[in-house]
């Protein structure tokens, strides 16, 4: 393998890893703070993709405006769904919560299929052309995706690790009752975490629409890999999710080229199984204490 090809695959892996990172950040945030496995996360990705598609094709706007639109739309819808649906089953057994998010996923999938049909939808507006760095070619669209993911990932990490509100979320992730005893508004914090996570997923969807086609199931593939990333990074570990996302991105890029897409998936899931056996709490996750 030439050095140029190596860096080309590395660049491809960075783009995939960036998107996976944003998706997994949301999953980790929701699981970390609320202990909820959000099966409907893929539909929020699809929501952002279709919102951007409509913005471009119906209003003639640049798809770049789809990113803030998806963030705002996802944040608002996430807030409403957490308040109207998720919060009502928070105290119920885990299976109730799992089935609730699964039902949300099915309802979302049905709504997108009913509204848009099964057609592959794409647009040509937005950044075009590519950047040639000593033979390594990166499209401006891909570069836009990567930079946006890096900015959103860094902003989320800063919020969680450095801001007061992040300290509250981390405390809540450790113990709900103790957080309340410290004056942390548990319900509002959970709503914020869910809302932020859905906003990230929808923004990821906007970026996915920029580099690919949009269908009712476009979010599913990303969210399945997102779950793998969350497991590898450590359940609820935001930093671990980012590290694992780029790792999976690189594995996918190199394995797809050297073998094929099917083998790339097999390798990723074998890695997940190995990680479960060897390091069940993930790369940066904590072991649970009694």
């Amino acid at each position: 393998m030439s050095l140029t090809l190596f860096f080309q695959l590395l660049a491809n892996g960075l783009v995939v890893g960036g998107l996976l990172g944003i998706v997994a950040l949301g999953l980790a945030l929701i699981f970390g703070v609320m202990r909820v496995v959000n099966f409907a996360h893929g539909e929020f990705i699809t929501l952002g993709a279709y919102a951007t598609y409509l913005l471009v094709t119906q209003l003639g706007a640049s798809p770049l405006f789809g990113i803030p639109l998806a963030l705002a739309l996802g944040g608002a819808i996430g807030w409403l769904i957490q308040a109207g649906v998720i919060a009502r089953v928070t105290e119920r057994p885990e299976l109730d919560m799992l089935m609730t998010t699964y039902a949300l996923s099915v309802v979302g999938l049905g709504a997108f299929a009913a509204g848009f049909g099964g057609d592959f939808r794409s647009y040509s507006a937005g950044p075009s052309g590519s950047l040639d760095l000593a033979g390594v070619v990166v499209g401006w669209r891909s570069l836009t995706v990567l930079l946006t993911c890096l900015v959103m990932g860094a902003a989320t990490l800063l919020l969680v690790q450095r801001a007061r509100v992040g300290l509250g979320l981390r405390a809540l992730a450790q113990n709900r009752d103790a957080a309340a005893s410290c004056g942390i508004n548990v319900i509002a914090s959970e709503r914020l975490a869910f809302s932020a996570a859905v906003a990230l997923a929808a923004a990821a969807g906007a970026l996915v629409s920029l580099i690919g086609t949009t269908t009712p199931t476009v979010g599913h593939g990303w969210v399945l890999d997102g779950f793998v990333v969350v497991m590898l990074g450590g359940l609820g570990s935001v930093a671990g999710a980012l590290v694992a996302a780029f790792g999976i991105g690189f594995v996918q890029s190199f394995a797809s080229y050297l073998l094929d897409d099917s083998w790339a998936r097999i390798i990723i899931y074998l890695l997940l199984y190995a990680a479960i056996l060897v390091r069940p709490h993930g790369l940066l996750g904590r072991q649970e204490h009694a």
Binding site: A173, N175, A180, G183
Partner: protein, 237 residues
């Protein structure tokens, strides 16, 4: 006016009466001990004051304000700090971060957040400030919880079995710390070890089977026939 005024409190869990028709007053500045055998209802009363449990009947007032329906986080912001019988530290956060998690609430209330370094010195954890809470022993975690509750700059401190699980030496240290803190804060302490805790109390309330069977000074409690019969035993008289 009492700092805490709980009137006609009743609490049922699935039809089982845990507390029935209890009146409990806590005067400002006092250290009130809440004692009783297992199942007496003292922890339920404690949780009703903290806001973790809502009474089936009755009302709780704090500084004259009805807080019966006020959630726990808002009570913390009003100035009610608490610890837990089974410690609940934020294990993944550092010792200092555990305290900082409570500070925004204190600052939001009166703009005078507690001196966290001084708090850590007070509980002997100043050298562990940057260690994760998961690395602390049980005795240290108990002290960390007290410091975290104090980081709220509370007017009322609720201590839930602060001596449970501690060695004799750690018990002595904890009681000495509580005795220091009580100079500036009203304290309600639920404690199973009545022999160790009673001497530092200004006043004690003894519960049995969901009701108050006695209240008074430590001396009066020790001589109370109902307390001796239900709880202390003849040897303590």
């Amino acid at each position: 006016m009492a700092l805490v005024e709980a009137r006609a409190i009743e609490k049922r869990f699935s039809g089982v009466v845990a507390v029935k028709d209890v009146d409990l007053l806590v005067a400002e500045g006092e250290l009130l001990g809440l004692f009783g055998p297992n199942g007496a209802g003292k922890t339920t009363m404690f949780n009703i004051i903290a806001g973790a449990v809502r009474p089936t009947a009755g009302a709780v007032r704090f500084r004259g304000v009805d807080i019966t329906a006020v959630p726990a986080f808002r009570r913390a912001r009003m100035g009610i700090g608490r610890t837990f019988q089974v410690v609940r530290p934020f294990r993944g956060l550092t010792v200092m971060e555990n305290l900082m998690a409570a500070v925004p609430s204190a600052a939001a209330r009166d703009g005078r957040p507690a001196d966290l370094a001084a708090l850590l010195r007070g509980v002997g954890l100043e050298k562990r400030a940057n260690d994760p809470a998961a690395a602390l022993t049980l005795g240290m975690l108990k002290r960390l919880e007290v410091a975290r509750a104090l980081a709220l700059s509370p007017q009322l401190l609720l201590l839930d079995e602060p001596l449970a699980g501690l060695s004799d030496r750690e018990c002595a240290d904890m009681l000495q710390f509580v005795a220091t803190v009580r100079r500036s804060i009203t304290i309600v302490m639920v404690e199973h070890n009545v022999h160790l805790a009673l001497p530092i109390c200004d006043r004690a309330v003894v519960m049995d089977a969901g009701s108050i069977i006695a209240e008074g000074t430590p001396g009066e409690i020790r001589k109370n026939p109902a307390v001796i019969r239900a709880y202390l035993g003849e040897d303590a008289a």
